[in-house]
Symmetry: C2
Subunit: 502 residues, 2 copies
């Protein structure tokens, strides 16, 4: 059996290599590739995906996983051996459910949907998108049917990003969030808005890059294993725990590029700190979208919008942008960075409104998948929820239903994990503080190693060895729970606005 | 049969995609990858190579190529269809000759040889290299034996880089080169050396990059399809005719980085101008190493060290480096650029001594492969030939036998193609001038399109559709012939040194 385990490792290593090679091709495409290389690149990526899929669904792999059941039982649940067999079997069983022809058609139709989305935005015309949405939704339903869903069909799409989580659990968490966030937003809206004019101006890109590098290196980005490159839409990716790629986009007129660095660092450090023994296995990555997002939001928000952190970094920021911040008090800057204000774009949203943007999308996705909402009525339904939750009326479809790329191929189940990431981030944070003491005291001295090492030990190193639920339980003793996040927000709002809000 | 041709194209496209994906991984490794990513990257590349090899030697591919013989016969020799089947069959027949186990062992042992080469250079100790050379030579001989050579075993290794060429032909050409070059070098050595002190100084990297971009764009590098990046050892690669990557290495104290850009441009434009209809087929690349090198040397030397070219570019060079070249006459700069002077390093050699560096390596390779030269005696044999051909005694093994990477895995057959590239470059050049008139008249006006388009039409677009011999015959009506190259050099030496030399 140990020979068969060796063979399993070899097969999984091949799959892993091909998937990581495809990731290199994507990274190059988004950061370096000259534009006319796009067509050939699409073919190359499709070929690698096809090969990875063939290797992932090989009957010999299935047989091996069957044969290794006794081997798995012999090893402790949390051993490398048992975890690898268990996770590989789950991946295999999901992969073989979907016929290659449907996968290929979803990829093809998704590309067409993406092109249509670009055109529809350009012409501010949802009608261009509609037939593609119809087709992609039809394919998404066929995909769901492959898994013969017993309960809510949305469970199937959610499982691709948050394995094991049920739609009903998401609904419960989101209802709790809405119940608190909507009244808070109402109270904030009655107040004088925070003055964030210090964040408007001219910020030379070189200085933004230097400052970002300074923060990231202080946080733990080492140049032997990381890169930071320019792209259009920032993302993080990794080709191995020893090769982490962050990307960002610095604009002269705002600091968003710096904040996106802080966000992507969270994704990067998660992949960086996976147990090196998991290299070239399916265990060597973050366990779920919500967990991944918990890390990016923790570093962006809990660390990155924290006044203690800025006590350490603000003098350096003033040095890089003396005209802009030379005369601005730390407290003024910090308040500006934490302004609460409803806005159309999800990606620009603050910590209070962000979850509302997500919840409205989740609710619409469920209605689209079930058929309760016809796609032709989506723009109106979108705007109605924007009005209800955020008090905003999008002036056009670009500020409304066409703002995100996710629906161009009817990707579903992904959006909710963004908000769940917020929820998980504070559950982990409370536990870290319980064990490490007040983190702010470390941060104001520029010490981020205690938090980073705590995350390595408790979360990162485990990769995908446990399910998200198992992992969260191991670390916090609890299931996913919105209470810590709401406590955190309530405290923060109190600090920013006083008793008027929280 | 046309269905089978379609299937053939699909199989070949997959192989091509995987090979190009591997090329992306290599490019990233040499230009962008953080150092700690090396180990994982080696695994990823090995996996892609293994997959490409399995696809390339699939029995179904062999059967398809057999079945398509009548289809090939139905189509004209120079049609896309017949060329594709013919070239794919030749590739297949070579690929299946070598057992995967031998290939894997050569790769593994080659890597170890490369590591040993680095250590041997560091410690200036050939002994560190010797056991690896022995092992790699043994494997190289096993490789040759796979092809059951009837004639000179060196024919087999030569064929990997210069398909169809025989060792005896190389010997004949090299003997003719030696007969002319050695006396010329003797005459030049008796003269006052050319003063090239203007090429020493401080050349800011940014200015070198701007100037290189200016030249390359004038030559035909468009930003939609090309990139220029930094690396340690310059190279060119392509991921499609629409995605060309040049690399260089600018040093503050020399202009070598600019010259390497001119060299790599020749490789790049060859791949750029392959017929777009050949995309994703084995026809979509340069036909041989000598042909590829003919293009890089044409743009580096025939165009790039030509006074007519510099009549156009020199004012811009003076602008970028005013302190260095402000007071230097064009003619002085041009003579410095063409200094003839024996030196230890092949890669720094001028147009007269370059071929001698190559010839000595070729002669040693033949002796190593046949066993006439024992590897323990290689350093002395290398130095003896350096003394005989170049009048130099390398002070250590780094300046001597360990200077090139090629022998670290006993790669053989590659070196001669560098010199053959010189030979081919002038054969093509003479033909181009016969059809286009004096190229210098175009160059001094900054017009490089006539030459570039002539090369597209006559050489580049054909990719690998014809053998190197067929292609050269189609273009020039002749076999490979050193006479044009020698005529060119004689004329140039006459211009530089007057009647004293040529």
């Amino acid at each position: 059996l140990s020979d068969q385990f060796t063979e399993l490792r070899e097969r999984l290593a091949l799959i892993h290599d091909v998937e990581k090679a495809a990731a290199v091709l994507s990274w190059d495409e988004e950061t370096k590739m000259p534009p006319s290389g796009a067509e050939a690149r699409a073919e190359q990526r499709a070929t690698l995906n096809r090969i990875a899929h063939e290797l992932s669904t090989a009957p010999e792999l299935g047989q091996l996983l069957e044969d290794l059941r006794p081997f798995e039982d012999e090893h402790p649940f949390d051993s490398f051996e048992a975890s690898l067999v268990r996770v590989a079997r789950r991946d295999y069983e999901k992969a073989v459910r979907v016929p290659p022809s449907l996968r290929a058609e979803m990829t093809r139709s998704g590309s067409l949907g993406y092109q249509a989305w670009l055109r529809a935005r350009e012409q501010e015309d949802y009608g261009i998108m509609l037939p593609h949405l119809e087709r992609n939704l039809e394919l998404r339903r066929q995909y769901v049917a492959c898994f013969e869903p017993a309960g809510d069909p949305y469970d199937i799409v959610l499982d691709d990003y948050e394995p094991g989580m049920k739609t009903a659990e998401v609904v419960e968490i989101f209802d709790a969030l809405k119940a608190a966030l909507l009244p808070w937003l109402g109270s904030v809206s009655d107040l004088e808005p925070i003055d964030d004019s210090c964040l408007t101006g001219r910020f030379p890109r070189d200085a933004q890059r230097r400052f970002s590098q300074f923060v990231l290196e202080r946080w733990g980005m080492d140049r032997a294993a990381w890169r930071l490159d320019k792209t259009v839409h920032p993302f993080a990716t990794s080709f191995a725990p020893t090769d982490i790629r962050l990307t960002t986009n610095f604009h002269e007129d705002s600091l968003h590029g710096i904040l996106s660095c802080l966000h992507e660092f969270g994704h990067g450090i998660y992949e960086r700190q996976v147990d090196p023994a998991y290299a070239r296995t399916p265990l060597a990555q973050g366990v779920s979208s919500a967990f991944h997002e918990s890390q990016s939001r923790m570093w962006e928000n809990l660390v990155g919008r924290n006044i203690a952190t800025w006590r350490f970094f603000y003098p350096r920021l003033q040095e890089e942008f003396p005209e802009q911040f030379g005369d601005i008090q730390l407290e003024t800057f910090h308040r500006a960075l934490n302004k609460v204000h409803p806005s159309f774009r999800r990606v620009d949203a603050d910590e209070v409104t962000y979850c509302l943007h997500i919840i409205l999308r989740f609710e619409l996705e469920r209605q689209m998948l079930s058929g309760a909402l016809a796609l032709k009525d989506l723009p109106e339904a979108f705007n109605a929820k924007m009005a209800e939750y955020l008090g905003l009326n999008p002036p056009d479809v670009v500020a409304g239903v066409l703002q995100d790329v996710h629906w161009s191929d009817m990707t579903m189940g992904y959006f909710p994990t963004y908000a769940l990431g917020n929820v998980v981030s504070v559950q982990l944070w409370e536990k870290a503080e319980a064990e490490l003491g007040e983190l702010d005291e470390h941060f104001e001295r520029g010490e981020f190693e205690p938090l980073r090492e705590w995350l390595r030990e408790n979360v990162h190193r485990h990769g995908r060895a446990f399910t998200p639920q198992e992992l969260l339980k191991r670390v916090t003793g609890s299931a996913m729970d919105p209470a810590p996040y709401l406590r955190y927000l309530e405290r923060k709002l109190g600090e920013l606005f006083g008793a008027a809000v929280a």
